[in-house]
């Protein structure tokens, strides 16, 4: 059964929001996508934000397959995060791609993702983020409105170097 479009943006309390004119450091809204494809006249996108070297950078969106990078020299609490809402009649897969290029050895970090749907389906995963390039395939359940949040964070030891993250279509 077809699903009427929500969005173009949504929050945890409102499924029909306009795209914000400006962003804050900790945005509570994100774009609503049609599974892995573009809407008619509106491209697929995910909100991203990052915190590195005591500075927030947020308010941008990334396309499917577009990489967001972070260079960090200090922070144990540094992270990159991507968040989007989705609507899908059927479950679908999406790839979480991460890569790291440490300056001086590698410290372990956390690679996490969690999804939830208004139909009460939810999942939460936490993997160790290791050196090099990695891809995790995430299966998102069908939903009239679901959300996915992915992030990589420094773990017990401060990571110094470059980290990149992207979301992509496994079949592309």
């Amino acid at each position: 059964m077809a699903i009427r479009r929500a969005g173009p943006w949504a929050s945890s309390t409102d499924s029909y929001l306009d795209a914000p004119d400006s962003f804050v450091e900790n945005p509570s809204q994100a774009p609503v996508n049609c599974a892995l494809v573009n809407w008619v006249g509106d491209d697929w996108k995910t909100l991203w934000r990052k915190y590195a070297d005591n500075t927030y950078d947020s308010g941008e969106t990334a396309a499917i397959g577009e990489e967001v990078t972070m260079s960090t020299t200090s922070g144990q609490s540094d992270f990159i995060e991507m968040v989007f809402y989705y609507q899908a009649v059927n479950s679908f897969d999406i790839d979480l791609n991460t890569s790291s290029d440490p300056d001086d050895g590698f410290s372990t970090g956390d690679k996490t993702w969690q999804y939830s749907t208004i139909e009460s389906g939810a999942g939460d995963f936490n993997l160790e983020f290791t050196d090099g390039d990695e891809t995790e395939t995430i299966t998102l359940p069908a939903s009239t409105l679901g959300s996915l949040s992915v992030s990589i964070r420094n773990g017990s030891f401060a990571f110094k170097g470059d980290i990149a993250i992207s979301l992509s279509d496994p079949d592309a």
């Binding site: 077809a2 479009r5 049609c34 494809v37 573009n38 899908a88 009649v89």
Partner: protein, 106 residues
Amino acid sequence: MPTQADLDWNNVVSKNSQKTRRESNVNKKEGGIYDLSTGYYKPKKEFPQTGKRPIQDSDEDFVGRERTDEDGGSGGGVPAGYEEVLRDYVDDDNTAQQEYYLTKAV
């Protein structure tokens, strides 16, 4: 006793009646209109705008007319009181589609 003149007149009337009946039968086959006042079928009437016969026996040709908003129904524009809006939706194969909907404030 009828005179020869009476017989000739009756013969003319009979021939005219037969001719009228024959014409009426032809008109009936060709879709002519039945005339209650005479009991015979009139010839089919063509209209110059479309060449089509009207549904009603009047001077207005309804057959070739374009639909208007006042007609309502499918294919005839937006019914009074409704608004046509284009909406996005996710189709059964997870693709994005668009479709026009008729909405009405309640």
